[in-house]
Symmetry: D2
Subunit: 415 residues, 4 copies
């Protein structure tokens, strides 16, 4: 096991750790540890809400979650010699839930998937699913099952939802400017178009007092992916992946967390992955001047992992960029197309006895593939969703004998 | 070899075949052939432009292509017993270029990929690539190479870009209404938001005179995918795939064409696949009442093929929904995110010596994967593009030793 | 389609072709065609018995087959510039059954798998299966089904059973010496230990009279693989494979045939593949002096194809080197271990209603994987056999609810 | 993490554990723990030699290893309700090296591969490699590298080499009879044909005194696989695999160990895997009467794991059943054929700068595939060995430019 350079006591909040992490992106958060190119090291991580969600049968915790303190990140880790313009090479050697422990915090033998309330976070299909729901998943080695979504068992494609380097002051200012401009187009929208900096709930690593407050006032929220990496939620950044992050600050200042036991492409319920705390083992290196050399001006480049669960049989669903409820055409809108593919999959799964919420939770958590299929056939973008047949303990393929309906219980709901 | 129920003489236009096909979707186009559930049969297909593109080093033909006559489809084939509400089960047994022939028409030993001019069709990246370009690909069994994009050889994931059933009159009316409404929001846009029905250039199978003109005036253009299937451009509808099409008219009336030797997810250059004429062998069956039974209200469901070219190593690119030129944020726009992933891949490939146009043509034609990665992390949708490393005859992975630049020639340009 | 350098009229014996092939390995058989490095070309092939087996429900033809005339090979093709010591690079671009034809010869829309009689050829399990049986397979694009083995449909991993270069006189003499020495250890064995040269039934390409007779008297039989390649029956030499054959004679003199629509590892019924005539498209090149450069002193090296049917779920069987009937231990005998793995699979499939012969035929033809698992754990070698679950239209996995027995008909038997 | 039902303190010998394991198969060794069908539990394991091999640069420890005490197994675990004739269903949920520890025992951050001396164990190629050699491998998450075999890094296909149920007295007697009969055919052979029961070094769990001595005198050695499972060394019994073991004794009495971080098919150096201590998490269930129901009379049946490292490009080597040194033909001998495939791979790798011993060690440890290709083409069995190209940090494919030779150091040797 490599040395732990960022440790977490899972019985405490990230705020109360010996060396606390942070929940905003800001260039001035000091490194919690320093490593050298070639080093291998472990970072321990809290579950992204800092432990607000419980292993029970009520979704009240999801409904009432305090999002101002999310995501709780571990780091930053400085890499000696990293300079702006370099590419920081990060090998994901291993990751997983909290080792050797069963307990009350997600990651201690279990995780959860949440459908967030429209009034508090929302999600990809929030117009159709405005209320809060939850599924708790039990871990069995690499596999997961849920009492809230019976009839499925699948191998997780374990990955960190969120890792990135610190932004420069200039880059941070650009983020704030462009996101505020977007918010200004519809400032009262629920859910909001974007999240502006917020002093409430800020955690800024070793900083405190005014320095921390300044991070709150100007630091970028951690929800979206940006030029530093960030909350990619790319399920294929799994074990064995190599990521090349742009370096914007001396030392690179790598932070991350939001570990997922599994996730489908899109993480469609917002909190669609199986969320957990745990550990991640990394190895870092540098490509000096790599941003210019490889033409990396915005987002990271990566090579995916090589041990994802193998599936070869899928039932696949198609969506196009039409609002079918109102028969309204949207131009080449891949987001809408994928939303329709998801709705088509949910309608299909209902025929087997799942509630729409169960189906939605499943599509967020299981290793489904979401593909941009056609984006040039005006006016209809086309996306497709591949649902592996092997994760079900019954046959979900279409046939002349019809679907095998059964009572499949229910997920956790809010009171 | 199964019986040929729709035959094509590749030396003639689709208009001049013994039994002509059609280039509009309309419920009244009579079947060209009738088959029974369980039957296996072959349909021969013209290349989608009906042979306008040549195997040469000029993109003038792409620039000047007459799109009013596209796509030239084979069919319709009626299936005995098919009724509205059924699912038409279509197994893709085999497909390929024109057998046993070398010649002047795409599909006779070669195919092409085109970047269409902004003034005549456009494409996914038309703002960046407003002019016409072309790459000609030579077929070597299942593999393709191009004198216009040297240094790559890949196995094609051969598939039909376009197959579908006939719409009902009601469904057709809804398509026309919603697409006209979209066009009306910006009627003079170049390229247009959508294509309305058009009498010019119409081909309506066995219909002629006023009946054919009526098909032109009210028939839907073939460019987008819709509730009948249509121009999905889903590369995984390859050999071995099974597709479940909604039936909207008695007999189902299956038509298709637009065969692709290969294509990347998105078909990003508009004519981004390697286009060809050829043949397709199908087997059909019915799930009576399957639309209701399986909750299929809009698009087809499918199971993908099982012999796609295997790749396990990829260099992957990420895009988010930000216009980086103007630093403008767009809300959760997966189309923009995928566009940025494509642009990031192009910038990367330039470092190895490809022109931007060559890189763009390659991404359209090679079996790249385009994934909807995160669509809930407001405001930035995240898409990713997986480029298989094995298709290059040099190492394209990032490393400290830098990219291996070489003079890689040029694609075909317009004069 | 590449030029045909060796053509076959499937209505005639290989003996009666315009340019006949050959059925012995001999350095003096003159080339039927000459190509250059870099050339792509097609060779047409007869089914290996030259058309003795019929599409019917009797195995009398298998029982009585004349093996003296097997295998009927196409070629030789000389490659300009090839010299002894070179490696001949052969890309398998495409192959398949006889194009565009349905007919009476295997390869014209159908193929067969045979269990040979112990008295005439035998096979891997001939002690258990001494009589002749046959299954006829119908081709549906890339898939095969059989009226003799109902309940399965699978995608073929199409490949040539046999390709190789001509031996030198010296190499041929060594083959004859070592095989005669083996035969001499048990000259009356049924089936024989090996097949010596035989004048009866010889076909020597363009040679006739005494020259052909000499080929018969000294030429090597085509059954085994040897240093020139030969009858490898490696199913992964499929489309997209690249093979590096040692060159022993000027021009290399490449010959082959014995095309298989599908085969399991081991080709366990002797004629265990789905046998067919058809075509193969090749591209050749040379690595000058490659045998020494790469240390290739005996057998070819290859890179497998990249479009084999993907399977991820298997029921797997284990065998060890014990004769369980007599409880006799054999030392580290992988052949016996694999034989036991096959017998274990057959016993398992019987529980689902297949006759032992059907199961045996299926294991020969379907794309099963046969692995050398442990060969050092004295005294018991361990081999394993991976049977893909997806090829069955019922669930063959072990479960507490027991196997789903059904009447599954019977294969063709001898009268 | 599931409950630990068999725990190991890695600083002590298996003999000195609170509850010791055993190193012989015998029906009378009492269970160390009891579980119920459906239970999940962890077993901790010692490295197979009980810690005799060190992380250093000398192979003296391999040369002098005491094999009488091998393999040190954890267990037995009794399963409530298991009766002879049942199938014991074992799901491999997870396994890995010793968690959270770096240390001096294999499994504590490192493992080793050994070539055993001919005089003390031998191996698959002992005639060619009669002396002892060793490679130490460092673990980096799922990947391994070795200072003794530079230039390669690969993801391990982690698995237990050895698991099985207790034999009945009758079955044990049959094993002893047949193995003694084999030994009697050449009792002085070095290495021996098989290993008879041996009182020296016996460890019999909780038994001691005369009871333990009796286990030594009559218990079966653990080296070979047999009807109870045993030392299969099947690399695909990895995470996610489900194994169906025959039950011969009440409670089943499941024992195992010999964990491997990685292994190639065949485990060709005898100690060819990357050996380690560690943990394995299992879930058990029963199929009552399953042996008869599924026709399982000898060896276990299994379904392989679903997260093995994915590889698609291979350089593959062929071997046939000829002794090429003496030009002697052996009849259909798959063991010899695979041996030749291994020798051909070694000769090839030498051209890139590896010593033969390094190449041999690599083929034992890396996830190579060994296939039974053709076993009916008399007299020459044909086996093939697939070496993944992606594990090398240089290009190992054959090409006209020749192999890239480099000084690649050396493995550990004996003094």
């Amino acid at each position: 096991m490599p040395d732990v350079v960022f440790s977490v006591d899972q019985s405490r909040s990230m705020r109360d750790q010996a060396v606390p992490g942070h929940n905003r992106w800001h260039p001035d958060i000091p490194p919690a540890a320093t490593v050298r190119p070639g080093d291998e090291f472990r970072m321990e991580c809290r579950e992204w809400t800092d432990g607000q969600i419980r292993n029970d049968d009520s979704a009240n915790d999801v409904r009432d979650v305090d999002l101002d303190r999310c995501h709780m990140l571990s780091g930053p880790v400085a890499v000696e010699g990293a300079e702006p313009g370099d590419l920081l090479v990060v090998d994901i050697l291993d990751l997983g839930p909290v080792p050797q422990e069963q307990g009350e915090v997600a990651g201690q033998g279990w995780g959860y998937t949440g459908i967030f309330s429209r009034a508090n976070g929302g999600g990809f299909l929030t117009d159709r699913f405005p209320d809060a729901y939850k599924a708790v998943w039990d871990f069995h080695g690499q596999k997961a099952t849920s009492r809230h979504v019976p009839g499925v068992e699948f191998t997780g494609i374990t990955h960190p939802g969120l890792f990135g380097t610190a932004p420069s002051h200039d880059l941070l200012a650009r983020w704030n400017a462009r996101e505020r401009a977007l918010i200004a187009t519809d400032p009262d929208r629920v859910p909001p178009l974007a999240l502006p900096p917020l002093e409430d709930g800020v955690l800024a690593g070793a900083l405190s007092g005014e320095a921390a407050a300044e991070v709150g006032r100007t630091g970028a929220r951690t929800v979206p992916p940006r030029e530093n990496g960030g909350n990619h939620d790319i399920k294929n950044l799994s074990r064995g992946a190599r990521v090349f992050y742009p370096v914007h600050r001396p030392g690179g200042l790598l932070s991350g967390g939001d570990l997922h036991f599994s996730q489908g492409d899109g993480e469609i319920t917002f909190c669609g992955a199986i969320e957990m705390g745990g550990f991640i083992d990394l190895r870092v290196d540098l490509i000096k001047g790599g941003m210019e050399t490889y033409g990396v001006t915005t987002n990271p480049v990566f090579m995916p992992g090589d041990t994802e669960p193998r599936h070869t049989e899928f039932v696949s669903f198609i969506g196009i960029s039409v609002d079918h409820d109102s028969d309204t055409n949207h131009y080449n809108d891949a987001t809408l197309a994928y939303r329709n593919a998801c709705l088509n999959a949910i309608a299909y799964l209902e025929k087997f006895g799942y509630s729409p919420e169960q189906a939605y939770l499943l599509l967020g958590a299981a290793p489904i593939e979401g593909r941009v299929s056609g984006v040039v056939d005006i006016p209809n973008a086309c996306c497709s969703l591949y649902l592996p047949t092997a994760i079900f303990d019954f046959d979900i393929r279409p046939s002349a004998s019809g679907p095998r309906w059964a009572d499949r219980g229910s997920c956790a709901t809010a009171s």
